[in-house]
């Protein structure tokens, strides 16, 4: 049997609420500390206790850590999902199961290992009876560790981190891991091909979840006001703020430079942030789709009243009792046009945990610069799962507080100003904040009906001018939002566009498409709307552009079609959303299903390419003329 080293998946099937997350995180972190690229994804139901839940780990020496659909190693601890778990193991795979589950193991094409999980825990006198169930999860960590050569020192390091150095739980849990490993050593014969071998590919990296990163980044962005309401999967952003604000913004006098308020609902959460943002505070809220639905009216008002505020949307499937613990990129078009009347929002699209940190502070800058709501679109996979990441970096630019007049500036201009006067031609006026003591500082804020001096007006011409200025602001925003990142291949013939948490799956699919199908691609990961000039350039290069995303309707594709009708024929939507994190398999298959082989020979198509472009341009001009 050929060894398979550092290239496999591990799936653990347990019951929700059984305390297996410590065990699963320990496996993940141990492998990470062994220097092997790894990811872990919790695929859990909306339930506190009892329903089946899975944790899937991808180990890959080449760094492809998207979710893998093939199950190489399966660990079954839940009688309710036992049959399904057993059936899911790929031929030649390994199946570890708790031997108290009395169900038949009917497959001969896999290596099956019974584990006397409960017996081993009972035998350990150091584990009090009330902890047995929790600690029993550690036994499978030990058995697995023994069979795949997981480094016990790294397991200890993972447990030490998890229990924050508290010796008693560390000893108890590590004892159970060792007991499992010793039992396996004495009783199991290795029959599967999967092994871990130490590498150095994670040296210098950290492991974190996107929500914690978002909270930390927001703190480095100098957040001053947070209004929020609990919702899965966004809650841990607010909890992260509560945990880290006191540590990172500690002052000698013990006083606070921030306030975090748990609101009565999402309407109030954003309402408070809008009030705070209006009055000059760096304000943010975090929520998920159902919360954004409730925030819609305030988001629309903030767009028209030009109030900076940052809204994190950790996307999940919904509404109501939908699939609230499943990941998606389903709120894109909703957010793009959020609010009634004409409106276009700014969205920032972090692609990994590092960018969750970076966009945490950057979004506050963009919001205050453009004076508008900024939506940061994360998702459950990025927000709640542990990802490998570059260490977070200190902001490389000073805070951008945007255009503000204090008493001093107002004195200099003798109080001659208008809140919505476009003196700089970029669509953005100057703000003043309540508390400003200059007698000309104040203005009255309302929705759409105001003139450049914030005076009430329902005049058509005033309304039109205001709307045009708002459009200019959107143009200005392009200079301030993050540009896309590119993963290009020499000789690429097609383009791939994606955003957010799907990057790992796309990179792997890109590799497979080239290696197995000879399709060379350039991949652009969009990081914000409005689209920057880099996007314009990319789109002009390919006649096949695959827009890959985790939803049903191809929402990014819809936005691209609206913004770039001239390329409409080139966009091919590859949209798929089943609630699970993206896998290379569906990306690859999705692209192949829509891929069209170039009709002509390479040499010819190259020559004709410029001519073709001209023809397209002509056609576009023609159709324009026709319309007129």
């Amino acid at each position: 049997m050929n060894k398979i080293v550092n290239d496999f998946s591990i799936t653990v099937g347990t019951k929700n609420g059984s305390g297996s997350s410590t065990a699963n995180n320990t496996i993940l972190r141990s492998i990470f500390k062994m220097g092997i690229p790894v990811s872990g994804k919790n695929l859990f139901p909306s339930n506190i206790q009892g329903l089946p839940t899975w944790y899937t780990i991808r180990v890959n020496k080449d760094g492809f850590v998207a979710r893998r659909e093939e199950h190489d190693i399966v660990i079954a601890l839940n009688p309710d999902s036992f049959a399904r778990d057993l059936a899911s193991v790929r031929t030649g795979g390994a199946f570890f199961y708790a031997d108290d589950i009395k169900q038949p193991v009917t497959r001969a094409d896999i290596a099956a290992y019974p584990m006397p999980v409960k017996t081993i825990v009972k035998a350990d006198a150091n584990i009090p009876a009330e902890y047995r169930d929790l600690v029993s999860n550690m036994v499978y960590v030990g058995v697995l560790a023994q069979l795949i050569n997981m480094d016990m020192e790294k397991v200890l390091a993972a447990l030490t981190f998890h229990f924050k150095g508290k010796q008693k739980p560390i000893d108890m849990n590590f004892g159970a891991v060792k007991a499992g490993a010793e039992w396996a050593k004495a009783n199991l014969e290795k029959k599967d091909p999967f092994y871990l071998e130490p590498m150095h590919k994670t040296d210098g990296l950290i492991m974190a979840d996107g929500n914690t990163a978002a909270a930390l980044g927001t703190i480095f962005g100098g957040v001053q006001f947070v209004g929020w309401y609990p919702i899965t999967p966004a809650t841990s952003i607010a909890e992260g703020l509560n945990e880290y604000l006191p540590q990172l913004r500690k002052r000698e006098d013990g006083k606070h430079t921030y306030a975090v308020v748990q609101a009565e609902d999402e309407l109030a959460a954003l309402g408070m942030c809008v009030g705070a943002g209006w009055a000059g505070l760096r304000a943010m809220t975090s929520t998920s789709g159902p919360g954004v639905s409730l925030m819609t009216e305030f988001a629309g008002l903030a767009y028209y009243a030009e109030i900076p505020v940052v809204i994190w949307n950790v996307q999940r499937i919904g509404p109501s009792t939908g699939l609230p613990t499943r990941t998606t990129q389903g709120d894109l078009t909703f957010t793009h046009f959020i609010g009634h009347g004409d409106s276009t929002s700014i969205m920032m699209l972090p692609g990994d945990v590092y960018e969750c940190f970076e966009f945490g502070w950057k979004a506050l800058d963009v919001a205050e610069r453009i004076q508008t709501p900024v939506f940061v679109m994360s998702d459950l996979d990025m927000g709640m799962n542990q990802w490998m990441s570059k260490p977070f970096e200190y902001p490389d630019t000073p805070m951008d507080r945007g255009k503000v007049f204090t008493e001093k500036e107002l004195e200099e201009i003798k109080g001659n100003w208008g809140r919505y006067l476009d003196v700089d031609g970029d669509g953005i006026g100057y703000r003043t904040f309540p508390g400003n003591k200059h007698p000309m500082s104040s203005y009255f804020t309302r929705g759409t009906g105001h003139d450049p001096y914030a005076k009430y007006s329902e005049e058509s011409s005033v309304y039109i001018e205001n709307m045009q200025r708002l459009t200019r602001k959107q143009e200005t925003a392009k200079q301030y939002v993050p540009a896309p990142v590119f993963h290009n291949t020499k000789g690429a013939t097609v383009g791939i566009i994606a955003y957010g948490s799907t990057e790992a799956a796309i990179l792997e699919a890109q590799y497979q498409l080239e290696k197995e199908h000879g399709i060379k691609s350039d991949f652009m990961r969009i990081r914000a709307t409005p689209f920057t000039k880099e996007v314009d350039k990319f789109l002009a290069k390919y006649d096949q552009i695959f827009v890959v995303e985790m939803n049903r309707d191809g929402q990014m594709n819809q936005i691209l079609l609206t913004e770039y009708p001239q390329f409409a024929a080139n966009f091919k939507s590859v949209a798929y959303g089943d609630g699970l994190p993206a896998s290379a398999k569906w990306v690859r298959e999705g692209i192949l299903a829509k891929y069209k082989k170039p009709a002509a020979k390479k040499a010819v198509s190259k020559k004709t390419a410029p001519a073709k472009k001209v023809a397209q341009k002509k056609a576009a001009t023609k159709s324009k003329a026709k319309k007129k």
Binding site: V261, P434, G435
Partner: protein
């Protein structure tokens, strides 16, 4: 725009200039666009008078409102104050967030019975329990004016309106709702009783925390039937003042503005050291007794009284912001040096991760 507005704090020997160095004109707003005779206009005038007489600096006040006739009125007073006309029923959340920006500011919110008792009931109740430092005025007329005459949640059962027919539901009592949500200052008045409105406003401004003023403000256009609860005639006939009230500014040594008539006098000390003096018409009504306040409201309901005056006050509860232990500098004057953690902190943060 003029450039010649006087800074607050100026001095002049003009008797029309108050201690803040301002004239009454400095407290005015744009001309009202509400109906002639609307109770809301009278309330706006009393807000102007109360602020002028207490020498409040306009820049010290921030105005908030929701949507409706009442919510339009913040433009009719205090041109020199910042104002935010927000969403229907959502004024409390905007005020809550905004007031965090500068803890020295006082909020004045103007809402209506539709805005607070229907669409905004949730936020109304929660702004009470948070004890946000603002005066919360409900201009209560039992009817939706701006949409031309629909029944509101404070309209009495059996009220008939032209296009709505008869109201089948029991009304919501703003003061009762405020009190059961732990409001720290609850008062009711009647727009036609200008003196009482003004004195209650002064007391509310001095209160450190949420101060609810439910002001019955008849709608002359859509709900002024003689028998209707929110009409001038009915209110005048059924008004049952709890006490006469006089507000005494802090540092003012003279206790009474005018001679009081006989009866028990009770002083209530406000948080800013000012005092309100209540002259009880009822047998020793004590507005610091929550139990008594609930009883008197229930009595009024059963007897069809419009009970006016300061129903309840509690001066020792900390306001929302004071519970947050904020720095002395207003938050909206902090800079990057105060807000962004030091460069060395990034290593600490990375070390906290696995």
């Amino acid at each position: 725009m003029t450039e010649a507005l006087p800074m607050a704090g100026g001095h002049a020997a003009n008797p029309n200039i108050n201690a803040a160095g301002l004239t009454k004109n400095d407290y005015r707003g744009a001309p009202s666009t509400l109906c002639l005779g609307c109770g809301h206009n009278s309330i706006a005038n009393q807000i102007i008078a109360a602020l002028y007489e207490t020498s409040t600096v306009p820049e010290h006040i921030v105005k908030f409102s929701g949507i409706g006739c009442s919510s339009k009125s913040p433009t009719y007073f205090l041109n020199r104050s910042f104002g935010f006309n927000g969403l229907h029923g959502r004024m409390p959340s905007v005020a809550t967030g905004a007031l965090f920006a500068d803890h020295t500011l006082k909020g004045i919110g103007v809402s209506g019975d539709g805005d607070s008792a229907s669409i905004g009931m949730g936020q109304f109740k929660h702004v009470m329990r948070r004890n946000v430092n603002m005066v919360y005025i409900v201009e209560n007329n039992g009817v939706y004016g701006l949409t031309k005459g629909q029944l509101s949640a404070t309209a009495e059962k059996g009220l008939r309106l032209k296009k709505q027919g008869e109201n089948p539901y029991l009304p919501i009592d703003i003061c009762m709702e405020a009190l059961t949500s732990n409001a720290t200052f609850v008062a009711r008045s009647f727009a036609g009783n200008a003196k009482q409105v003004k004195e209650l406003l002064k007391a509310a401004l001095a209160h450190d925390g949420i101060a609810v003023l439910d002001i019955i403000s008849p709608c002359v256009t859509f709900n002024d039937q003689e028998n209707a609860f929110h009409s001038y005639k009915w209110a005048k006939d059924h008004e049952e003042p709890l006490h006469e009230i006089s507000y005494i500014a802090p540092r003012n040594e003279i206790v009474l503005e005018r001679e009081m008539v006989e009866g028990e006098i009770r002083e209530v000390k406000m948080h800013d050291e000012s005092t309100i003096v209540l002259k009880n018409l009822e047998k020793g009504y004590d507005p610091t007794d929550r139990h008594e306040a609930l009883r008197i409201m229930e009595d009024a309901r059963q007897n069809n009284w419009l009970i006016t005056g300061l129903l309840y006050v509690e001066t020792d509860k900390p306001n929302l912001i004071s519970q947050y232990n904020l720095v002395d500098t207003p938050l909206n004057r902090l800079t990057e040096a105060d807000l962004r953690p030091d460069r060395s902190m990034i290593d600490k943060v990375n070390a906290l991760m696995f």
